[in-house]
Symmetry: D2
Subunit: 405 residues, 4 copies
């Protein structure tokens, strides 16, 4: 017998007065998430989540709020926390007005506060989890009497935990969203380029055409970026250690070279490898005066900012998202967005429609797990093929460039 929802700890947000502004942002996001809207209509009819309680850890911002609304529409109760850095206090305030939802999230949370929120979510005694980085999952398997039947996990880093340290220890199925071809195809291969352009324009107000960009990494994300920059008139150098990918870059009209040569020639270098320490002390000295450094990889460690700071004889913010470093010998380097993801830090994340597809995978996976968790093997599961197909079919029906009737 689960704890009554009404007895859960009340929502904790920064400032209830921000609700009106936050509501606007949720409404705007909702307008441009038609795939979730279609799912929502189905879930309202079917109510597959009636009686389910979801423990959820995912960025508290407008697009995620639309996912939460969708799950609520399917009947779920939800206890939600986010990641402090990305919490939109206005959205958090707005969401406190939703029935069957508790939210524990402040942008100003420190690590201890965030851990306490995780504890509040686990204390809600959920029977499903929607996780980010496997923190809730790891916390759950420590708890003696967990009711959890199934979970989804948003990230690749969560999947690495599931198949690594947590392998064999998770007694319920966990569908990992990020490996879906839909995430790769749309969020990575098609979404990263435009999102980076957005961040770059906001951070620098400088032109792309006629410039030399070095893109370090030619995986799903790197190729999106390289192609977008080239389409906008840049000369693009690609640095890539995998020879098959490097050859692909060359066959797409990129100049393929080493990181040392790219560092010495590019006007702007953007890392997108997924690995730490890609641009580091030995490269900083090669940069041209005025060179810009940015990152679109998931971790903010691709550019060794600490090393840059140690090497510099001085530094200052010269624009909201640009820090200038003086290097020995008189050259200056411009670091964009502190080396964090350019689109998240200098802009406001992926364009909405891109997240619509990804969150629809979440909502649909929740639905099928709620309907029949027992039919899935415990531990890591890829998104089932029929879910990918269903979401793609929904997506096609929402586009003005598609005519399938």
């Amino acid at each position: 017998m689960p704890i009554p929802f009404t007895t859960l700890e009340p929502s904790l947000v920064a400032d209830p007065d921000l609700a009106a502004e936050g509501e606007k942002r949720v409404a705007w996001a909702r307008t441009h998430m038609p795939v979730l809207a279609r799912l929502r209509a189905e879930l309202e009819r079917e109510r597959p989540l009636d009686g389910r309680r979801i423990g959820m850890c995912l960025h508290v911002e407008a697009k995620t709020a639309v996912l939460v609304e969708t799950l609520l529409a399917g009947g779920a109760e939800i206890a939600w926390t986010g990641s402090p850095a990305t919490t939109d206090d206005g959205v958090a305030a707005a969401m406190t007005a939703r029935d069957r939802l508790r939210i524990y999230a402040l942008k100003a949370d420190d690590t201890a506060a965030h851990q306490a929120h995780i504890g509040r979510v686990l204390a809600s005694d959920p029977d499903m989890l929607l996780d980010n980085g496997a923190d809730l999952i790891a916390g759950t398997i420590e708890r003696p009497a967990s009711r959890v039947l199934a979970a989804t996990e948003e990230t690749t880093s969560g999947r690495l935990r599931l198949t690594g340290e947590l392998a064999g220890r998770v007694p319920f199925p966990v569908i990992v969203i990020n490996d879906s071809p839909i995430k790769l195809s749309f969020e990575s291969e098609r979404g990263i380029g435009p999102a980076t352009v957005d961040g770059f324009f906001r951070a620098t107000n400088t032109f792309i055409a006629g410039k030399t960009f070095a893109v370090v990494g030619f995986g799903w994300c790197g190729r999106s970026l390289a192609r977008t920059l080239r389409a906008m008139g840049a000369v693009v150098m690609v640095v890539e250690i995998d020879p098959v990918r490097a050859l692909e870059a060359a066959y797409e009209g990129m100049l393929v070279t080493t990181i040392e040569k790219a560092a010495a020639r590019a006007d702007t270098i953007i890392t997108v490898t997924g690995r730490p320490g890609i641009v580091r002390t030995e490269h900083f000295g090669l940069l041209k005066d005025g060179a810009m450094l940015g990152n679109m990889g998931h971790f903010s460690t691709e550019i060794d900012v600490a090393g840059l700071r140690a090497m510099a004889t001085g530094s200052r913010m010269v624009n909201t998202h640009v820090e200038e470093f003086d290097l020995p010998g008189g050259r200056r380097v411009h670091l964009l967005a502190r080396g964090e993801m350019l689109n998240l830090t200098a802009a406001i994340g992926h364009q909405i429609e891109v997240m619509d597809l990804g969150f629809a995978l979440q909502a649909h996976s929740m639905r099928i797990l709620a309907q029949d968790a027992a039919s899935y093997t415990p531990g890591y599961q890829p998104v089932p093929e029929h879910v990918n197909r269903a979401i793609a079919e929904h997506g096609l029906r929402t586009m003005s460039t598609v005519d399938l009737d």
Copy 2:
């Protein structure tokens, strides 16, 4: 014998305490205006503007400030005002610290205040003018004892006055910058597309790929926009009344159609015709639910906003730069940036390098007029061919993708 510069009315700006922030923006712009930097080095050596006093009317913001610095470096004294709506009070504050410069500009100026600033500039008794819309020129020819020997004019609308109402009445040469092939090629044909994308992303956070855009107008600006949108993965419809241009659009893979059909099918419509009343009451009823309307033409009258407001049963801001209108029958229309230029209102104008070329035309034209105004016929003059060539050559020398040594 001109009035001593020191006796001119002191600078008038909104808040001197904003200088430090404004100085940063000027410094950032300066870093990305290498063509002006090259000209500045030449002007510092030659000092062709020693003893010249320039009366100047041009937007007071960071990029223009770098132009002003360049003219000051050539020896000029300058009395400067701008246009109220575009004044950056921080930049204005920062510029008060420059020698030989008076600045009269506040963002909050009303029309009367602005006219008073124009009067202050004319009262400085300039012998050269750098004008915007021919206001200073028109004011000068009213004054009995003007010393003005030569002028430049930034805009096409100024040129229309020079060859219209002012034809035959201006006793000194006026070089009109905006007709230069450099302005057309770079600011219009290559600059408008990326600038619009910047404004669109900031205003809407929505995706371009997979959407249907209607671009109304396929002139220099319209083709820049249509090409950029298509390169980013949109299906682009073009509406254009000139059949040769329309045929060009079709041969570039655009769908060419009427404004009625475009209105009924596009997700987003952007006007860029240079004419008023392009999208109007008879079209609003055709729009799809959720359609977006934006403008990149010079005037904010391409979309009949008053007509839209009259027709709507309700409206509200749903995002910083998006107003939602309820239309009879239940459809909603999203107006971007109040129908004003999307890049100026939702973003911060053209990318810096684009203005670098245009302002270099200004500075170089000032230089040749100062050296030999008498060799130019009074009235409208195009930018001399050798000036275009010189600026283009400078531009080439600043680019990492050019190797001419």
Copy 3:
């Protein structure tokens, strides 16, 4: 009183038995010239050329044959010759069956034979001319009793004669087709790139993506070529002496450089400048082993083939359209299509639709001249604006990507 058409010298062609094959090629071209088809329908109704006799000099091949059919449908009598190198003997044979047409053209004609054909055309006593290079026009003004009332001229080189050596001496109006924005926009700026790709693939069967191409000249034709190659995945170097054009190339993502650097680095160099001696002895020694040289400029003298031959220690055909030259030091150079226009020599000229627009300008200009030659000033005339508009409007109506109803 003109000579009766039936008394004109009978047609002279290489081999009447080739008619069936030639007829097929004319039929195929006709199928893809919808603009001429629309004009033809109008001309058949109006018969504006009834009683007119046109002396015509233009390449005898399938596309031109459709132009001839169109003029015949308007009522004209025609005496036609071509240029020997481009005569399609099958098409010539097929056209002998048309009423009111005499044709004098063999591919094997030498200069004397060709001059005799020109004489035959002039001897037909035409009252209108459709000329190519102004040969008929020049011949006409030598003749005492010419009836010619008006003419069209296809080429820029003909226009140069009209405004040069023939200036003031031509007593009838001559509309020059090649300066029309339609010719520049479609035949040059959009047609040259695909036509070159066609020729290049046929000549070499080698890949474009991942290769370095140098395009020498960034005028209307050069930019078409450079853009097409870049769109197909090449890295494109541009050599251009005009700095404004060079800057445009750089802003489109081309690498701008000198001819020496381009020669040393490019896999393939293609000239398209309109000037002779562009790639010459001093450059051949810089080329890489295996470098290809091609030309898309109008004249076959852009590459100094004689100089290459003089410098080479040996040469041989290594493919139908590739000659290999051994250079001192052991490097080999591959000359494509003898340095003649790659699309004409290695392929079969422009794609059909491109010529449809250009020939429609011809037919429509003939029609308005026949209707009212007296309203045009003698000597060089540009294509009237209303003709350009009319042809563009016709063109739009023929395209599946255009919906203007």
Copy 4:
């Protein structure tokens, strides 16, 4: 003890006098296969194929001849046959002059003759096979005393036999080349588009820009084609039954629709699905007058040509590679290249460099199998990862747009 090579049946080719022309084509191909050239240099040093006898079945044409030369350089003896339709009799003639090679191939071979050649190859008692469609492999396992230690198989259809009817029956490892990411990435995803353009231009001489193309199938090959056509200025409709792929197409700016709508609207339809009967009787009646039909899928059955012929009231060749069919009601349909692969039938196959990579996989796989066949499990094997990497690294070293030193 194998049969001495000298006792094998002498080569059988159509006409020895064609050798000189064939030799030219082989030489031209060799010039543009630098990856094979690098491998050849290694094989000449190492001689890993000394004492090996390869039974080979692969198209006898110039590019394959360079592969054969490479294997010969590694020490192999080879008995080679091809597929009759694709045999280049000139190349066959030229290759008879090579040491340690027997060739049995005539373009005019019928099925019986071809089977006899297969028998000759098997009778050479090879110890390695290089197969195409698994015919040699299937023949070998019927033979009691086969010496075969290892094989490669070029095609996907061969792989289907290996994992289907032949599964568990092949006692030696077979590396299947076509599944390599290098084949997918370069031959399919990047090679198909340009190859189709080549075939289309040769077959039709018509324009791509401004036309509506329908691409049926958006797999590796289809996306290459759709992207290339769009880059050249077409409006591209995509028909694809897999919703994830269809959504990808929509996000790349394609119009996604049903085959019925595509049939009714496209100027040209090209199938590339890998499945038979894609465009069939029920669709022919929907086509526009003058619509073109072509195929780039591996099999010539994607367009139901028999059905088209049955439905037509008449037909005729209207161009070398275009057959016109009269449909009831008066419309005409133009079938390109008999519905066979457009690039092979109307042009001369893939551009050379594309095959260079694929054949390098063959040569390198042969080398590692010869060195250590025993270390591979019998039956189907993918190309080992290290082979893909090695070939990609070789490829990078041959490109002028790559600088890794």
